[in-house]
Subunit: 345 residues, 2 copies
């Protein structure tokens, strides 16, 4: 079990729910756009937000952003430890620093001093693309090198008794990412921020993130997740909740179970399932709804679902927990299903 | 290591590549539509195709379909063992039977006799929705029940020395699916057809399949995969190759690595990455292409990529294996990248 740390008003690690986070792709200096994006992400279930802090103007903008949002904000820092300090002084609940480019013990300790004084958290974010040179030449881009980079940084944190930290160890290769996180858990109980870096476009990036983050979650590894997509961050939140739901560790809203269409299917199941999914976006109970294309096998195969429909040749069956409730015409299937679900609210 | 079996001209198991399969959603009796769909799927990388065989007319249609396709065809059978026999007699390379509904030893043995005589394969396809009643009441819907259902059926196959079989053990719950496959490998070295059943719509079904199939592949489990989506089967093939690529077990074409956009990004990276992905659909070499939004970090972070671009403020860098090749204007970035990739063909 990982340790628990505090990022603003959110606890991460231990038995806490696995937290969903994303990163703004707005210019942080543009406070209006950044706040608007964060509020859209909050509404979709984003629990922690990160922003890039490339300069002092961006660090200063944080003080204008924070009063307008309700979730903790993390400042993403590369190269310049002074920006990490400014970001915390302007209200960032945490800073992400990269051991590969923050510049050694002295700079790190200056960041830690401010973080400790102000009760802020630190993420040590190792990335396969920016490993220290000596580790690279000794080990190449391997799980060993990634873990050593993290542990070396943690020694600095521990040496000054700074314990409010979490760790990420990301690579764009999924097997390497999974291997590195697993290896790290043998050396540390720090809470883990889990993700695959530079995962790619919405299509491929979602798959890579699902394979990598999902494999780790199924092994009990991961305390907060970020899906990195070359896409709007809203897509990252959708994918993150999908992965948490799939891995069975957390749920948000309705889970749709639907059978693949086959030669036995006698209704337009693809359209029906898509419409059920869309209508259920407004149902906030954590239920499972089955959309099956076969009146013979459907109710039985989906008996674990809370509600379901099975359609065939013009008629459909409504069922609840595998028990058939009634038979309706195909064109009433969708409205009757939603009526049944909403009646139980 | 799993055993090797033969499905038509394709070997499955052992050190063979993990095979990609899908299932037609056409009416199998409609030979023209079914053949057209199979040929589309073949072109996308489908290596084995399954069709539903709900009646004798469908079983007969198989004899017209097979001469027009080049990949092995598997007949999907429920309830009626006679349809399995007819399908094989009409040329099916394998039949999928469900221990929960095929009707016991006697019927199974009749199927096996024909399969053995004709050199056909059998998939024992256990499904959490159609478990035998006694297993259900003894164990509930658990990994134990699923594995016992499979092993009970395998005893019948082994008792008549039939060994050209593979096994699937699917549930719509991802953690249950993964647990069941892992448990099964402790009891048998049969090659495994891996998938998550009733996974859902394209969006959620892809994520569930990636988490479940991906987690198993990363542990070395799985010899052939099927992504089940409530979507056109073309989507299943795209997702299957995506999962194989992400898990690092097989590649087809170009893998795009692209960084998430952030406050440092100064070009329209989402559009650029999507366009690179689309243009690379016609590149059949197995290469990695990086699309990065930062001229400072980009080339270094993506040094494992074969080719890459990093864009910023009107200009971009082209790089190869982390080495900068040249600087170009942003509007030439895409054409120059493709020129560099194609020059190496």
């Amino acid at each position: 079990m990982s340790k628990v740390i505090q990022v603003g008003n959110i606890s991460i690690g231990g038995n806490n729910p696995i937290r969903v986070q994303s990163m703004c792709n707005t210019n942080t200096r543009d406070v209006v756009s950044t706040v608007a994006q964060i509020k859209r992400l909050e509404a979709l279930g984003c629990e922690i937000i990160r922003v890039a802090v490339p300069d002092s103007v961006a660090a200063e903008a944080i003080s204008s952003i924070i009063p307008q949002i309700t979730i903790p904000l993390i400042a993403d820092i590369h190269f310049d430890y002074k920006l990490a300090i400014e970001a915390m002084q302007n209200g960032a609940a945490a800073v992400r620093i990269n051991p590969g480019n923050i510049g050694g013990r002295e700079n790190t300790c200056k960041v830690l001093e401010v973080a400790a004084d102000m009760g802020r958290a630190v993420r040590v974010g190792v990335n396969s693309g920016s490993l220290e040179r000596d580790l690279l030449s000794a080990h190449g881009v391997t799980a060993e090198a990634l873990v050593k980079s993290a542990l070396r940084q943690l020694e600095i944190l521990e040496s000054v008794n700074f314990s409010n930290y979490k760790v990420s160890i990301k690579a764009s290769s999924v097997p390497l990412t999974v291997e590195a996180y697993k290896l790290f858990t043998k050396h540390s109980d720090a809470p883990l921020h889990v993700g695959v870096t530079e995962a790619g476009t919405k299509r491929m990036g979602t798959i890579k993130s699902a394979v990598g983050i999902g494999a780790l979650l199924l092994q009990g590894i991961g305390d907060t997740i970020r899906v990195s997509l070359t896409a709007e961050p809203e897509e990252e939140i959708h994918a993150a909740w999908g992965i948490l739901t799939a891995a069975g560790v957390r749920k948000r809203g309705v889970e749709i179970i639907s059978c693949p269409t086959c030669g036995r299917t006698e209704i337009d199941l693809i359209a029906l399932a898509e419409r059920v999914e869309a209508l259920c976006d407004t149902v906030h109970r954590e239920i499972t709804v089955a959309v099956m294309g076969c009146v013979v096998n459907g109710p039985g195969e989906a008996k674990e679902a809370d509600y379901g429909v099975a359609g065939g040749r013009g008629v459909g069956l409504l069922f609840r927990k595998g028990e058939i409730v009634k038979k309706v015409n195909e064109n009433e299937l969708l409205s009757e299903l939603m009526k049944m679900i909403n009646a139980d609210q």
